[in-house]
């Protein structure tokens, strides 16, 4: 009896899982709402189509299918997206390269490498080089030597 109820419950859960809309469906639904809201607004719709095509990598046709009938056709929206991209590339500034940066980089590299070379010559005083003293192997060896010393001291007191 209990088993029957359990199986029924599992099946119910499975059914409700199947009925849940996928992320893609949810996204398309939200796009439809957005599109309805922005259908009269040329700029907003342009931006929205741009988002779908270039940011989320979702096929544009999927979004266009969800657009209300009064919206523009697929090629027109693609054209609008392209136009918007052209506009955007003009709106974003591109500063011309500065040739003096090359020399600065050269000097920066020389400085850093010189410092790293000098640190190599001072390697005796570099604490990082003495790290091995604290390694487990060294500690074990030291403990062994101490134990051996005590054993030998017992065996040979004089």
């Amino acid at each position: 009896m209990k088993l029957k109820a359990y199986v029924k419950n599992v099946n119910l859960n499975k059914k409700s899982q199947d009925q849940l809309p996928s992320k893609r469906e949810l996204f398309l639904k939200s796009q439809k709402q957005l599109a309805t809201w922005a259908v009269e607004d040329y700029q907003k719709r342009q931006v929205m189509a741009q988002m779908d095509r270039f940011s989320l990598s979702l096929p544009l046709q999927d979004v266009v299918d969800e657009l209300p009938a009064s919206a523009k056709s697929y090629p027109e929206i693609v054209e609008e997206c392209r136009n918007f991209l052209y506009l955007l590339s003009d709106i974003i500034p591109a500063q011309k390269p500065d040739s003096s940066l090359d020399n600065e980089i050269k000097e920066l590299l020389r400085d850093v490498t010189r410092k790293s070379d000098s640190s190599n010559t001072d390697s005796l005083f570099d604490l990082k080089k003495w790290k091995f003293i604290y390694s487990p192997g060294m500690i074990a060896a030291f403990a062994f030597a101490l134990a051996l010393y005590h054993v030998l001291k017992r065996l040979m007191p004089y």
Binding site: Y42, Q43, K44, Q46, V47, Q50, M51, F54, S55, L56, N83, F84, L85, Y86, L87, L88, S89, D90, I91, I92, P93, A94, Q95, P97, D98, L101, D102, E104, I105, K106, L108, L109, V112, T113, K115, S116
Partner: protein, 183 residues
């Protein structure tokens, strides 16, 4: 001794300068920021004791991409910090020319520049900015929407009965822009 890393850094510095300028529209500050981000990355490499090997090693395209992303990460972090501290001339010709872009927040500007000028993927952008993907999409969308709203507002303000700026005019304008681009 320096085989590939040096020339790579020089090339990266130029595009970093451009990116810095997009964040802070001041020649000197952008120049300094590009240098500082490279310096910071070199010091970080040196501390990890990777620099000496890196200068001698032959780098694969994947290595170069990794270093490039790291440099942009440093530059972005510096740009966000310095943007709060630096005041710049808002009346300069460059800012006036790109008024819609510089009217945006610095994070939005960065997202737009990385996406549309440098053509980074969203995954690369998450590495550079350390923002989650969804936040980046939101930044891009808000930036694009703000630009279009500002353009629209400006057009509405300038609109006179004799010279109304219609959608058709806009498409002509973009047509002429495209023709200009084509060699």
């Amino acid at each position: 001794m320096v085989e590939q890393f040096g020339p790579f850094l020089k090339k990266a510095a130029q595009s970093l300068y451009s990116f810095s300028f997009a964040l802070i529209p001041d020649d000197l500050q952008a120049y300094q920021m590009a240098l500082d981000s490279i310096g910071a990355y070199l010091i970080e490499l040196k501390e990890d004791e990777k620099l000496a090997d890196l200068l001698k090693a032959k780098l694969t395209p994947l290595d170069l991409k990794f270093h490039r992303l790291n440099l942009y990460q440093k530059c972005f972090a510096l740009g966000i910090k310095r943007h709060r501290q630096i005041t710049y001339d808002s009346q300069s010709a460059m800012i006036k020319e790109h008024q819609y872009y510089y009217a945006l927040e610095v994070k939005q500007r960065a997202a737009l520049f990385l996406k549309h000028k440098l053509s980074f993927s969203l995954e690369d952008m998450t590495f550079i900015t350390l923002y989650p993907k969804i936040e980046l999409i939101s930044l891009l969308q808000t930036a694009r929407a703000n630009i279009t709203i500002n353009i629209q507002r400006n057009e509405d303000m300038n609109k006179t009965p004799s010279s109304s700026y219609t959608q058709q005019d806009r498409s002509h304008e973009t047509e002429s822009l495209r023709e200009k681009r084509q060699p």
